[in-house]
Amino acid sequence: MIALKKGHGELARQIQERSGINFNACLHCRTCTNACPFVAGMDYPPNALLRLVQMGMEQEALESSTIWVCVGCNTCCSFCPMAIDIPAVMDSLREKALATGVKIAEPDIVSFHDEVLKTIEKYGRTHKLEIMMRYKLKKRDFLSDMGVGLKMLKKRKLDLTPSRIKDKQALKKIFKKQIKQHKIDKQ
């Protein structure tokens, strides 16, 4: 049995305001869950995650792996009978999870996003090779996936030098605050 805590509507209110999505219309028909290709990697399927938010179970929702495993492919919401933009809800939950400093269920995914953003901040475009190297360095894991990396290098699918934009001022305007690495404690 789940006892709703006092003020349980607060989380839903915040996330609704931030994302602009009214997920209270959710029928829990599970169409999203049946459509999602990555449910296998999630602790809560997409509709259950919405339920957690509706019931104000903040810790469970923000510490879920679901919000990080979701790639925003829009498969769920293109089938949702209530046209609920689930990936937009996930965006807001991720943002809140990082801001509140809860335990992050998928630190590798966050660290990948951080590396991507850092190369965009530096060059205005992503630089795959640098992202991969730094990501691997942080994980202290160079051996897994070596084969794939080498194949990509050989086929020139990982350019050695970054492609960069000329207008550095523009980047400063966009990245007003420097991208900081999110500190994540491994669970």
Partner: protein
């Protein structure tokens, strides 16, 4: 016929790892009298990463690109994910007066609500292929191909009124004589960046997609997304997977382009044996 000019946004995937996609796309457009002008000094759209961890940056990156488009030119976006990012930003801008003010301040250009942002599929629909090929049915004759869209046809609710492109590759390929295979996994997402951070998860979906296509009798896959193409190539756990083409490669080939020798060696799964076997490539 005069050439029509489009502003062209390649995006990071095509720029850095999908060289053969870019080259064949440019070739195709050139052959059908379309001139692509690369958007000057374009930047990354922010992709899923900005969306995941930094909302302000995710909002601002696409806006600068929008401000760079020469007036009157439609903007062609090669990558389906970049397309959604830019379209959503454009829509956000259209509906938000304050954001328009900020945009004009930041980028020193008035907001142009008439800007047309389109995907390659939309451009393709405007072309009369028959005007360029006399014997279309012979061009890809006999090749058993499984179209793969990944998540590109799935639109978030705010873009639901966008034109739908279901069946576009099927129609195009069969009009060129190919044998189109249906296998039920055409619109299963490839996992995008999970390929890096959760390789096992993306291996699972990619292997499933390719096995189903092979079970249904496909000899190759065709995709219109450089990111999907890469994942299909690097994350398939099968020993002898079938090759995957970029849609633009098959189209240019069908039109009689001759510079494939530069494209195909960039594939990790070599498509040449298949093309030779089907007599689709001259020596």
């Amino acid at each position: 016929m005069g050439k029509k000019t489009y502003s062209f946004f390649p995006g990071c995937s095509l720029k850095a790892s999908g060289h053969e996609n870019t080259q064949s796309l440019l070739k195709f457009c050139d052959m059908v009298d379309i001139e692509l002008e690369e958007l000057p000094d374009w930047n990354c759209c922010g992709s899923s990463s900005a969306h995941s961890v930094n909302h302000d940056v995710a909002r601002d990156l696409p806006l600068r690109n929008i401000s760079l488009v020469p007036k009157g030119q439609p903007l062609l976006i090669a990558c389906p994910s970049c397309l959604i990012r830019l379209k959503q930003s454009f829509l956000g801008l259209k509906n938000d007066g304050n954001l328009q003010k900020k945009y004009e301040q930041d980028w020193g250009r008035p907001f142009d609500p008439g800007l047309e942002i389109i995907h390659f599929f939309e451009l393709f629909k405007r072309i009369q292929l028959k005007a360029y090929i006399k014997d279309p049915k012979t061009r890809l004759k006999g090749i058993k191909v499984a179209p793969y869209y990944g998540c590109m046809l799935s639109m978030p609710p705010d873009l639901r009124n966008e034109p739908s492109h279901y069946g576009l590759m099927e129609e195009a390929l069969s009009s060129l004589g190919a044998d189109v295979i249906s296998y039920g996994y055409e619109t299963q997402c490839c996992g995008t960046y999970l390929s890096v951070a959760k390789p096992k998860l993306s291996e699972r979906v990619v292997t499933q997609i390719i096995s189903r296509a092979m079970d249904a009798g496909a000899e190759c896959l065709v995709t219109a997304c450089a990111m999907c193409h890469l994942n299909l190539e690097i994350r398939c756990a099968l020993k002898n997977p079938i090759p995957a083409f970029h849609f633009s490669e098959l189209l240019s080939m069908a039109l009689g382009a001759e510079n494939q020798k530069k494209w195909f060696p960039k594939h990790i799964v070599d498509p040449l044996p298949l093309l030779k076997q089907r007599g689709l490539l001259k020596s």
